[in-house]
């Protein structure tokens, strides 16, 4: 299996403060991989290092076998599309917003969007079920719909890898499931490789094939969801007592908390 993303011995942080302390892992082409870990373990810093917001102190990142630092911003935007947990909401219609995803494909002197741009944008708006909001202002939509529109914009970049930072953290369960089902469908049907940071361990277990569990700027354990979500590693990293079992319907790993009361019984 080839890897869409290879992260090799990266070290990064803010100024003198090193947060990512030598991390290496791979995201297989066509896989759906989640990054989990407690608060302040460096998930977001890792994300911002891959996006290029923070520069590498050392190490290398390869996207589709190409060194990411040697790509132009436009080349990079054609390979990786990024969706964050919340974003500045411009006063734009959904269609205008999604069309901005065509930017890396437009040539320098192109004043109007081409028919192809519209075609691609409409295709992904339909796929994400946001075509019905086409002419509505994005800042008037619900949080869940905004996240779907952001995913439509990312898909319009026609990337090899979709990178998401906690795409469901502000949403209720209806919209969490809606967004994650979409992401899984994109992964299965379009063979789109996905790497996402995800806070909720049960959602991570339910939706991700592979997981990377981070702790204190390092990879604690990585592997399939079943391998990673075991009570020993979770308790060690989160310092909380948990029980892991399989979801009776999906047979995917699930994590249960044990409160004080439960503990005494």
């Amino acid at each position: 299996m080839t890897n869409i993303l290879s992260i090799k011995n990266i070290v990064s942080g803010y100024g003198d403060k090193t947060i990512i302390k030598n991390i290496s892992f791979e995201v297989g082409t066509g896989s759906l991989t989640g990054i989990i870990g407690p608060n302040a373990c460096g998930k977001t810093t890792l994300f911002r290092t891959i996006t290029g917001d923070i520069s590498l102190n050392s190490g290398e990142i390869f996207i589709a076998q190409k060194d990411i630092s040697k790509l132009t911003l436009k080349e990079k935007a054609k390979k990786i599309a990024i969706v964050t947990q919340s974003f500045d909401l411009p006063n734009l219609s959904v269609e205008e917003y999604v069309l901005l995803g065509r930017y890396p494909y437009n040539n320098r002197f192109q004043f109007f969007e081409s028919n192809k741009d519209y075609e691609v944008a409409h295709k992904y708006m339909k796929l994400t079920d946001t075509y019905r909001y086409k002419d509505q202002q994005i800042n008037k939509l619900s949080g869940g719909a905004q996240q779907l529109v952001a995913i439509a914009r990312a898909l319009t970049q026609e990337p090899d890898l979709l990178l998401l930072d906690e795409p469901t953290s502000h949403l209720d369960i209806t919209h969490q499931v809606q967004v994650l089902n979409l992401i899984r469908r994109l992964n299965k049907e379009m063979k789109l490789s996905v790497l996402m940071i995800i806070h909720d361990l049960n959602l991570a277990g339910e939706y991700c094939e592979n997981l990377v569990l981070m702790n204190a700027g390092k990879v604690h354990i990585m592997g399939t969801a079943e391998e990673v979500l075991n009570y020993k590693d979770i308790e060690e990293v989160y310092k909380t007592i948990v029980i892991t079992q399989k979801n009776p319907i999906s047979n995917k790993p699930a994590v249960f908390l044990v409160s004080d009361e439960g503990n005494t019984i």
Partner: protein, 336 residues
């Protein structure tokens, strides 16, 4: 898509008609009032004192109003795009103040003869540029820029520069004092036609450069980091836009003095009318700024005729009032 293009053509067309109407009004009204037919016959005769007034006084004033109105408005528009904040403009960022201080220093230290007529614009540009560099480093070096502190810093720079100008006024010779006061009053009366053409050329060039980056301006609506994610070299683009905005503001301020609120009011009314697409906003804002300043100048010339009010008084009163009314009616204006 054709529908949108049609809408844009109609919008620009109606602004052009308004501009022509404003120009006609400015040609006819003043100390010497003319009807359009009289105006036409004077222009045909090509002689006489009326002809001379129109060609040597009124037309240069109109050209200067177009140049400066357009320049200040598109500078405001572009600065708002960079900061993604509707209250930013050359005046509130202190750029106009910096340009004014540059010019005042130029007059006081008598270096005006070195570059002849281009000296004041050059001092204006230098002043504006220094302010821009200060603002840039204060705001862009931090990872999360705090728009309130930027606006406050801009206002403080305006205060500091106007105090520094006061200081210069208090300590300099009477002749230079008059020069500075005359200039700071702000007037579109510019006897040197070469300078008028210079200002007009730079502001049209500025419009051209901004159009060159119009897709990047549109992408910046996503915010700086997301614009970068879709492939925009944001740090370079923002620097270029900053420099161009400071050049066209500096030249304008050096030629006509400080005229506030143009860069705030005009882009907002047009955003309200046309939405947030910079492909249509840039040209419309330029035309709107030109119309606004021509009309303000007509007021400034006629209200207390035969005397003339400083044009900044008019733009401040009209602009500020329109802005407050518009904001109180709807807060859509403040959404980006």
């Amino acid at each position: 898509m054709n529908q949108r293009l049609k809408k844009w053509v109609i919008n620009v067309g109606s602004l052009l008609i308004l501009l022509l109407a404003a120009i006609l009004l400015a040609l006819c009204v003043g100390e010497m009032n003319l009807s359009p037919t009289e105006l036409l016959s004077i222009l045909k005769s090509k002689s006489g004192i009326e002809y001379s007034i129109i060609v040597n006084i009124r037309i240069p004033r109109i050209l200067l109003a177009i140049a400066v109105g357009g320049a200040l408005s598109i500078s405001g528009l572009v600065l708002q795009a960079i900061y993604r904040n509707p209250l930013v403009e050359p005046y509130t960022l202190g750029i106009s103040g910096g340009a004014a201080l540059g010019v005042a220093l130029g007059i006081v230290f008598g270096a005006t003869s070195i570059f002849s007529i281009f000296s004041l614009p050059i001092y204006g540009i230098i002043g504006a540029f220094i302010t821009i560099v200060i603002m840039y480093f204060l705001s862009m070096r931090r990872t999360h820029l705090n728009i309130n502190s930027i606006l406050l810093t801009g206002v403080m720079i305006s205060f500091i520069t106007s105090s520094a100008i006061m200081f210069l006024l208090a300590t300099t010779t009477t002749e230079k004092l008059q020069n500075i006061i005359f200039w700071t009053m702000g007037s579109l009366d510019e006897p040197n036609i070469t300078l008028v053409y210079l200002v007009l050329t730079t502001s049209l060039l500025g419009l051209g450069v901004f159009y060159f980056f119009v897709r990047q301006l549109n992408a910046l609506r996503l915010g700086e980091s997301h614009a970068k994610y879709i492939g925009v070299n944001t740090s370079l683009i923002i620097k270029i836009l900053f420099v161009v905005a400071s050049i066209i503001t500096g030249i304008s301020v050096a030629t006509v003095g400080v005229i506030g609120f143009v860069g705030l009011v005009v882009p907002h009314l047009l955003r309200y009318w046309l939405g947030n697409d910079y492909r249509i906003l840039l040209i419309s804002t330029f035309l709107g700024g030109a119309i606004f300043l021509i009309l303000s100048d007509v007021f400034a010339r006629t209200i207390i005729s035969p005397n003339e009010l400083p044009i900044g008084v008019i733009t401040g009163l009209i602009g500020g009032t329109i802005f407050i009314i518009a904001i109180s009616k709807t807060n859509k204006l403040l959404k980006f």
